[in-house]
Every structure is written in C-alpha cells, then in structure tokens.
Symmetry: C2
C-alpha cells in the first residue's frame, strides 16, 4: 500500500467532503431543470433483442465502459455501477496514486445508491412529464449518481484517516468484527447536524434565482430544488451510507 501524506490527512479528507457537497448540489440543480421523463428508466421499453434493461441502464453501462478505458476506475475515489462492464485502461496515461488498504477494492454499494436515486430521490424533485431530452437527462442523472457514489465511497478515506489517527480506538472492534461498536465510534451527531445545516444553506444559495436589478440581487423564494430535499438526502442516505462504507472498510482494515 503506497501512502501519500499530502492526500490523506484529516483536513484534506474534510475539505474533499465539503467540496463534494457543492458538486452534488450543482448536479441535482441541473437534473431538476428537466421533467422526470420516466420512459428513460422503463425496464420494459427496450424490446430490441440483446437489450433487457432500461435505456438509462444501457447508457450508464456504455458510458462507464468508455470512461474505464480512460482510467476512471483506476482511481480509488471511483466505483462503477456496472463493474462487469468495465475495461482495464489502454491509454498512455499515468495512474492516480493509491493510499487505501487493498480491501477497499471489495467495497462497492452502488446498487443501493442506484435504487435510492431512481426510486426515492428522483421522484421527490423531478416534475412529472416528458420533454424527449433523454440523452441530456441521462447525462445529468449520471452526474448525480457519480457525485453521490464518490461522496459515499469517500467513507473509505474517512475510515483510513480515522484509523491511522487512532488505531488503538478501532482495533478491538475490528478484531471482534463488531459492526455496532464501529458504527458507534464513527457517529458524531453534532457533526451530522452541522452537515445537514450546511448543505441546506448551500442549496439555498446555489439554487436561488439570481436576478440583476440596478446591481441589487433579488432573491425569489422559488428555489431550483427544494433545499430541504437535499438536507434530507444527506440525513437519510448520504451520511448513513457513508458510515456503512466506513464500517465495511474498517472490518477489513487488518486483513
């Protein structure tokens, strides 16, 4: 395991998580521009022989295959939604450095993230309707999914940093393979409350309708996406799933 101090410090991990909030909010705001376009996710729409999935699934699989050739999944920060469809990169580009325990490779909860996004999150903020902009919408959805996946799997880096910082605190629970004890060690309610507040505030800022009127900014009350949907997304899914990744990583940290 290579170790790169610049990359892996409590402060750099914290900064990455905070910056990813902006990425997630931007991508949700962009997706909210379009109606739901439910045909995109319809498993029964594609009757072409050889396809047994939705158009969106086809799109994500093929995009991931292409991005894998340019090395996307060589980075420890990225997990594919369709691991069986990706390639080893064949382009003359350097690989990003690796800083995690090799067990990180076996942790991929994108199936849960996919189901949450399509079935729970999207119907909360995408208006009913169909404008035939399937390709643009599929791109937006993939941006959202990739941002959420990166944020949630960043739990591996969080766990590594915390472990390195105080191995004595985690080692007994790891040796006992005690999920519950690990979850307790990783839970800080005041921090979680602060994150929820921050993403809500950020969404209120980024999702406002900015108008220029005699150099005075008028903030209309209509946001491009409801800020409380984003804070609820963090409370119900992003933070619990990140901690789930942290626990899974720590359980394998001494393998």
């Amino acid at each position: 395991m290579a170790f790169n101090d610049d990359k892996l410090s409590l402060e750099s991990v914290r900064q990455s998580l905070i910056r990813l909030e902006d990425t997630i909010i931007f991508s949700l705001i962009e997706r909210a521009k379009y109606p739901l376009n439910s045909k995109l996710y319809d498993q029964n729409l594609m009757e072409i022989p050889g396809f047994s999935c939705s158009v969106f699934e086809y799109f994500v699989k093929e995009t991931e295959a292409l991005q894998s050739k340019v090395g996307r999944y060589e980075s420890e920060e990225e997990e594919p939604f369709f691991p069986d469809a990706i390639f080893k990169p064949d382009l003359p580009l350097p690989k990003p450095p690796s800083v995690l325990h090799p067990a990180e490779d076996s942790i991929n909860i994108n199936k849960d993230i996919w189901c949450m996004y399509i079935n729970k999150l999207l119907p909360q903020f995408a208006t009913e309707g169909d404008d035939s902009n399937y390709a643009c919408i599929a791109s937006c959805d993939l941006q959202c999914l990739q941002a959420l996946s990166r944020r949630i799997h960043y739990g591996k880096f969080v766990a590594e940093v915390k472990f390195i910082d105080a191995p004595q605190d985690y080692t007994p629970a790891i040796l006992a393979q005690d999920r519950e004890a690990l979850m307790k060690l990783l839970t800080f309610e005041t921090v979680e409350e602060m994150v929820k507040k921050r993403v809500k505030k950020k969404t209120m800022i980024f999702a406002q309708q900015v108008t220029l009127n005699d150099t005075i900014i008028i903030k209309e009350e209509k946001y491009k996406i409801d800020p409380s949907i984003v804070s609820q997304l963090y409370a119900d899914w992003v933070m619990p799933l990140t901690k789930h990744v942290e626990v899974e990583y720590l359980l394998r940290r001494l393998d």
Copy 2:
C-alpha cells in the same frame, strides 16, 4: 417545419438563455476543481496505431457516438463536436419536436468553440499541474463544452423568434445577404452589458466558499473561479459567437 408555440416565444428563449448561464457557471466551477492535466490534450501522446488524436478528443468522439445512439443530436438544441462520428438513434424513444427552419442543420461552429475552450479559456482558470484524474476531468470538460455549445447555438432559436416577431425588419438584409446589416440589427449593447454583469454576479454567488458558522454565512473572498473570467468569456466569446450563429441562421432563413 413543425411549429410549437409553447417552446418558441421571446420569453421562453430568454428564460432558456438565463438558465444556461447557471449551467455554464456550474460546469466551469466543477472543472476548476482540478488542475490543468495537460497530458489529456496532448496530440502527440497517443502512439497507439489507429489513434492520431489526443485522449480528450478520443473521449469526446466516443461519448458523442454513444449519446447520439440515445438521441442527443435529434434535438435542435444540440450540435456534436465530431459530426462524422455520430449515429442515428436506434432506441425506442420519441424525438424532440422541431421548431426551426431546416437550414439550422448546416450551422455548427463547434470547431471554434473547441479551440476557444482548450486554448484560451482553460489556461485562464485551470491551475498548472497533473493529478491523474483524466477521466473525471474529461467529463467536466465535456460538460463545459456542451453547455457552451448549447448556449451559443441557441442563437438559432433567438434568430427564429426575432424573425417571426418582425420579418419586415430582417427580410431586406436577408435578401441582400448583408451580414453587417444583420449583425447591426441583432446587437443591443445595453442588453449585452446587463448579461455580462449578471453572469459576474451569478459567479460571485455560485463560486463562493460557503461556510456555516453559528448559522452565519461567511463569504471568503476566494472564489472557486474568478467571476471576471466568466463575464469576459461572455463578452469575448459567448455573445459574439451567438450572434454569429444568429446571422448565419437568418442568412438561410428564406431559403
């Protein structure tokens, strides 16, 4: 030519242009997260037989080919950067409605947009360095290029709306094929000044570092991208190129 009143009004076109400002700013902020990673654009890097382009060009060509299969370029709002590499969609999805004169098909200035973006814009805001995140960066770059291309080619809709609104104003210059006269008819300096101010203001809002401190937001003076770069982008490239598209469209409007 099908005509769809809901889609094509002065107000709806104006709203689309304003909304696209947010998309462009978000995508530039996301790209600014990463260093330049110049290897991505290096024409001489790929020595693999069969490739004679940069990794980024390869990535965009292949992504456009895939997105074309899902119908991206069936929409009059979208122009490919590599028109020779795209396919007719083969998926069971409806086509977006068409509202423009068929001559719109022949107008694609993406080569200019590509050169401007890679050679002029990117070096202005991407910091020097290489972090090996080529696939993520290529995705961000493509988002920026697609947003800029959509905004600039939206000039076709602007021109159509203006022509429909007052054909008598434009017909003499169109019949005379007088570019200069058309450019004059399409130029409103006070509106352009307002747009520049608005994108600067938007960037100051969207690119700020939002911190939550006792529920007070502290705005640091360091923006994720310099707001004046964005207003200059609009002044030097986005608005002139949009007007160029408008003129080209009007010249063909009575064909």
